[in-house]
Symmetry: C2
Amino acid sequence: MYTEERLKELVAQIRPLDEEAMAAARARQDTLAKPLGSLGRLEELSIQLAGIAGKMGNRVDKRRLIVLAADNGVVEEGISITPQVVTLNQTINLTRAKTGASTLAKHFGDEIQVVDVGVNAEIHCPEVVNRKIAYGTRNLAKEDAMTRQQAIQGLLTGIELAKQAKDEGIEILGTGEMGIGNTTTSSALLAVFLNATVEEVTGRGGGMTDEGFQHKKEVIAQAIADRAPDRNDPIDVLAKLGGFDIAAMAGVFLGAAIYRLPVVIDGFISVVAALTAARICPLARDYMIPSHASYERGYRLAMEALELRPMLLLDMRLGEGSGCPIAFQVVSAGCAILNDMATFAEAEINDQYIQDFKEQEGSF
Amino acid sequence: MYTEERLKELVAQIRPLDEEAMAAARARQDTLAKPLGSLGRLEELSIQLAGIAGKMGNRVDKRRLIVLAADNGVVEEGISITPQVVTLNQTINLTRAKTGASTLAKHFGDEIQVVDVGVNAEIHCPEVVNRKIAYGTRNLAKEDAMTRQQAIQGLLTGIELAKQAKDEGIEILGTGEMGIGNTTTSSALLAVFLNATVEEVTGRGGGMTDEGFQHKKEVIAQAIADRAPDRNDPIDVLAKLGGFDIAAMAGVFLGAAIYRLPVVIDGFISVVAALTAARICPLARDYMIPSHASYERGYRLAMEALELRPMLLLDMRLGEGSGCPIAFQVVSAGCAILNDMATFAEAEINDQYIQDFKEQEGSF
């Protein structure tokens, strides 16, 4: 059942990363035939994965991108120039390797799981997993976007999706979304969580007129004032200003931490969901892996709040989880270094060189 | 024969990118089912590859990392705390998937070609391609590092390696190096090419003492003053202050442009070689693809001079070409988008949505 008590029980199972396994991975990295630390974040990824799995020898051969699709009642306010039915169309196209993220997932051999958590239409497509909470949220400019119960259902749905992945042998998760209007909900959540101005966290998008952009910011600011969520109760913030996609994605981040799977953040909406999860349980942050630097305003602030830095500078702003397939490849590179590279001893370089390698850095 | 005339003949064959093919690729990108430009640099990569190949439908399934290994006479001055014999050891280890770059190349299924262009030892390892120019350069603190003839031989050797790759069906090249002392030669070249101070372009490396770092900068500054290369004659600069690894790597960049192959830049030494190539023939720049942002000081200045930006933020500083295997995967993602993604028409979204998609940006 989707109760707050059940959510609390599950979240209470989240443990810190395994320090012992991380120390072992770090120690092995320091014996590999390279200047200390010279593979930078590839080394850090291998250490993080050891902390998540509680062991070395990790692989990310079985990768799944979970895309949460939902509609947002706030589109009534004209905050997006894209019609709502695009959510439905692209949700179906995501299952057919026709969109950006699904093309990349297919190219790299990643599974994609498209989940309807609140699209405003019946979806007659068996490849779309039906976990619909409602036919879109309500209009947050006029009333709470969802009930507290719906927010909890969204979070628990995401947790269940992470559990399913773990049960099916998935080794790394990625997160994506499809939902017209979800930069508006994301900006609203971020403004509240960071106590930031709407100006600081709201992006224009390229096609929007000055007037449209101004209107979008006014809608967000007014909604925050009217809904008056309790900043210290992340579920209240999520319910009043969020979307089903963000609720379920935050659940995937929590579930990854509960079931100990690494989970990749995509762009702006994804990082707001990650921040929502971290506000519910700060330990969840340690299971997250960044991907690309989104162009959307607010992304940087959310990443700073999570103390994370992007790994990819690709000027992407598509959403759908499109940054995850490339990030998966970077993580796999980190695994390969720890699993496959020779130690100084195995490389048969004598002790004198080991000493020299360890003392120097960057000079070859 | 390795004559300056032959070099000039070959370089004169370099042509600009194919504008018609690029326009066709750009036009197709703009019909794909995504907001205009929302896949950022993945789109740009696909357009660049079309310009290089003169057609769309490009793939990078056959990838080769060329690693140029050579010793530098300037190590006599104590500018590196790593002993010279490490060049020999790691050159051999590179062929055995034991080093960082070769582990990553094997992991991603990239070929690696290790070429001795000037290691200061006989190499009894059949996997190392013997194109030795001499047993290391001379000490640039005391005399010109190489003769003009040797610099030309290095450049032509690199061009030949690019031609061999093209003849063997390789679709993308990466560049790497192994050579103790080569951050010193790279900083010297960069200071002259950019008319920058030694301070601006010289990195410490982590293991070096304050005294050692000061000494390294003094050696470079004095060498530039004593060798007095002609800034407007890149071959003169290369001969007096460079290394065989950099000469041959610059040749690979020129060869990639001559034989129309995309070529990936690795870190600091690689980007200095790229700049050397671009000083010999500015058109060569358009065939280059950046990879990761090196931590070595000077990297950023060299990239700015080439008007290029890194794609990966991984805090790496290993060299060997270790940034190329991951960059190859990013390029392959760019190819997949152009080759495999559906157009708006193929995605069966009606005309109204096409219009809307094209006008908006970033809002889903």
